[in-house]
Amino acid sequence: MRHRSAVFPTMLTNNEFDYLRNHLEREPTPTELDIVSAQWSEHCSYKSSKKYIRLLPTNGPRVITGLGYDAGLLDVGDGYVITVHIESHNHPSAIEPYGGAATGVGGIIRDIMSMGTRPIAILDALRFAPINGETKTSRKSKWLFKNVVRGIADYGNCLGVPTVAGEVEFDPCFEDYCLVDIASIGVGRREQIIANKVDNDDLVILAGGSTGRDGIHGSSFASAILQGENRSAVQIPDPFLEKLLLEATVEAIQQQCVKAIKDVGGGGLSCCLSEVSDNLKKGLDIELTKVHLKHKNMSPAEIMISESQERMLYITDSLKLENLMSIFDKYELTYSLIGKVKKDREVVMRYGGKVIAAFPSHILAHAPLLDREIKEPGYIHELEKSFDIRQEIDNLDEVLLSMLSNPSIANKRWVYHQYDHEVGLRTVVKPGCGDASVVRIGNGKFISVKLDGNSKHCYLDPYQGTLGCLSEACRNVICTGAQPIGIIDHLQFASPEDPRIFWTFVQAVNAITDYCKYMNIPVVGGKVSFYNETPKGAIKPSPVIGSLGLIEKESWIMEPSLKPDDSIFIIGFTSDELGGSEYYEYYHGITGGNVPKVEFIVDKINSKAVLQLITTGLVDCVHDCSKGGLAIALSEMAIAGDIGLNVKLGLIPNFCSRLDNLVFSESQSRFIIGTRQPIKARKLLSKFKGLSFAQIGRVTKSDKNIKFINKKNRTIVDIPVHKLRQRSNALERMMSS
């Protein structure tokens, strides 16, 4: 049974309604019901996931904690801090890809601003159905892809925040849907971090965009399966307004005229106010008729839950008010003084003086948590069984070329050339040039950052698949010379009401907890997104992991391009782990098999060895071995260096039963390095007990081909580098046609 509210059908269940009534000790008013049902949506309340998310390790020596901090905050030395946050905008982007993706960028940027830091980088992780072929699905997918990228580009470019890194994966489970994850990093001075300390009678100011009927119930919409095309739940982007809001906020922080800041995002004003009140342990008395509106005759409930974009809430005091107003005036921003801070922890909302809703903020901000049922899905064991795929392929040339033009593997320059990835003069390793992107911060150090996901692995084994994403994201920043200092996670699943789906969620959270505890890396930001499904079905479990690394010295920064005279080494072991690999899924069209496993101790030693090679100056280039396996990693290194190479497959430490498995297996924890000092490198690597490594080949002088030679000294791959490069530009060709 659903309970009636003032304007909209409420999403509250009977249990939630009873909980609300018991805690209020009275009947809630219809307006209160509207507010609560927005606030207690899965999207805003984390009511299914909170119990599990709480287990994630979040502390570390660099982590700064504080009241009401939305984004993770890390000390990077010399008085500098970085903030980081990730969010998705999946439902809106699936309906209106341009606006959905653009407003996703806007939301994450405001989270970073709320901390008192200036956003310096945007990252995106995108997932779509396959775009190859000329089917209805692929055409729709292309349309989604094109417009999501354009939405991110138009918003980020206009703001002047560079989009520096990301990833794109294609999988049939995203038919008629897409996953759009946006992360952002901010940088600031430790002394300028917002203290979030307010006093009674401080003033509450809402600035930026007018509140309108756009995006009403956006969060509730995102907390249900995508069925219709509820366009009114998609917000409208205005990057120019956000840019003004950004500059005004930075100026206000520099002039110390704000005491607390909060982004008005999902769940609208009601969510924002209740969280502010709950976090700051103060009450708020708000007059809704003061809110500047986009549309006439909006009801109080509509004002409270509208998700109109580009709005920020500021708390200041009467002494600083004039200064703050003059900054808003400079940027011609509209603002309203909407209320005051009170001593009790109650949010009171008035309309023309009359109280229309009043809640203790802890009730509003904390939905009753749910105990979801958990059940392991039957498909897991069925698909795990190993099976043989056709006969072994002798000449792998065509396979490798086809794998390189696989949109999930092909180079992504069609995407990042549309993003201004250089504004701000920080982007040292640019997208497409490294395993992760590297941005410089003010203290002469560098932040390396990368997002990684793998829906194919996570479907077959959500625990090992998620470990793989963590390992890969960390490997990517390590490859650039960075020590991982923080993890962000975005957990995307279908309906948590299905116990089998919920099981996969719990597996993923367990993986993050286990990995981060073992590696001693704190989880500094995250988000959960459920109900990612359409009438066509549920998406595969799709956690996206972001890794942040710190590079202490400029000379440690590494890229994967091979240099003349390089000897090539592999670090790590290769096994028959092709379940969920691009080779099985894309080339053979098979879903199933052994997912690559992460051995914590091996992962740790391999990473440590590589970082030591880098910091002792023994390597010229480092590359992670992941999607598409060894063959793809070596091709990418040859393309980047515009140089040929010769690799003897027999030298690779492995337990593989066949050659195609060896070159395309996606076994974890593997790195490839190029060095001009092979003897010294070998000596250093030998010091690590139990480390698997081998010198497997070298760069060639005579020709510019990539060659793999088998044990019998037969050349089984021989392709000119220019041909590899041409094939790896497949995405550009597909999207331009």
């Binding site: 138009d154 470019n157 002047g160 990057p239 990042y416 250089e422 701000g424 003069l425």
Partner: protein, 238 residues
């Protein structure tokens, strides 16, 4: 050239900031921190700017590119002041959106249209200096090549035949793309100047190519010579 309070000392460069400009701080950083020059950010409502020895209009999205890139900024009062200074021979450099504003202000001829790819494009390319007599190019050799990035959606230079012919004849084409035109500009135009040479607009971003560490190949950055040229020109004048 009018006298400046700094006469005989350090030239002062003004960087005009419009709502939506986003390369202002980058230009400011390069001029002050890399070249150790004196540059200030000037918010667009300021009405006295004649104090400056040169003006830079930086890149970005002034007024969110509403109506057309550069159009609204071109009609703001500060541009009246910039026009007056330009007439007095003071060097004015427009970068990217700054170029669009100079064109919309009629300080430079032609128009900048949507790229032929219909997409925003951000990548490094190569340009060649065709006129090394302007205040912004005196440190270059004629036909010197330089590596420099572009980042724009509306950067395709377009003009009618008469204007193009005039630009060629009067040596107003300062830079052209080499073999790798990112936007489909007529005659491969990357930068032009006015007849007097003191007003130049360019689509590529020299401030992004002024430090080795920011170059994708980590090779030396010759684009910084654009700012070196300007400073050395100003020093001679003062």
């Amino acid at each position: 050239m009018q006298s400046s309070p700094n006469c005989g000392k350090v030239p002062k460069i003004g960087i005009v900031v419009f709502p939506g400009s986003n390369c202002d701080r980058d230009v400011h950083y390069v001029l002050n921190n890399i070249l150790k020059a004196q540059a200030d950010l000037i918010w667009y409502t300021k009405n006295k700017i004649s104090y400056y020895d040169a003006i830079v209009i930086p890149g970005g999205f002034s007024y969110g590119d509403r109506l057309r890139a550069g159009l609204i900024a071109a009609h703001s009062p500060i541009m009246g002041e910039v026009k007056r200074m330009a007439k007095d021979g003071i060097p004015v450099l427009g970068i990217c959106n700054g170029f669009q504003i100079l064109v919309e202000s009629c300080l430079l001829p032609g128009a900048l249209m949507m790229n032929n790819s219909l997409n925003f494009v951000c990548r490094w390319t190569t340009v060649r200096v065709h006129n090394n007599k302007t205040p912004f190019t005196i440190k270059f050799l004629k036909y010197q090549k330089l590596s420099i990035p572009v980042a724009h959606g509306e950067g395709r230079y377009v003009a009618d035949d008469e204007v193009l012919e005039d630009l060629e004849k009067k040596n107003q084409i300062v830079m052209r793309y080499v073999n790798d035109d990112p936007n489909g500009s007529m005659n491969l135009i990357a930068a032009i100047c006015n007849q007097e040479g003191n007003v130049m607009g360019m689509m590529p971003h020299p401030e992004r190519a002024s430090e080795t560490i920011l170059s994708p190949t980590k090779s030396s950055c010759t684009a910084i010579l654009i700012f070196h040229s300007l400073l050395s020109y100003l020093l001679k004048k003062l």
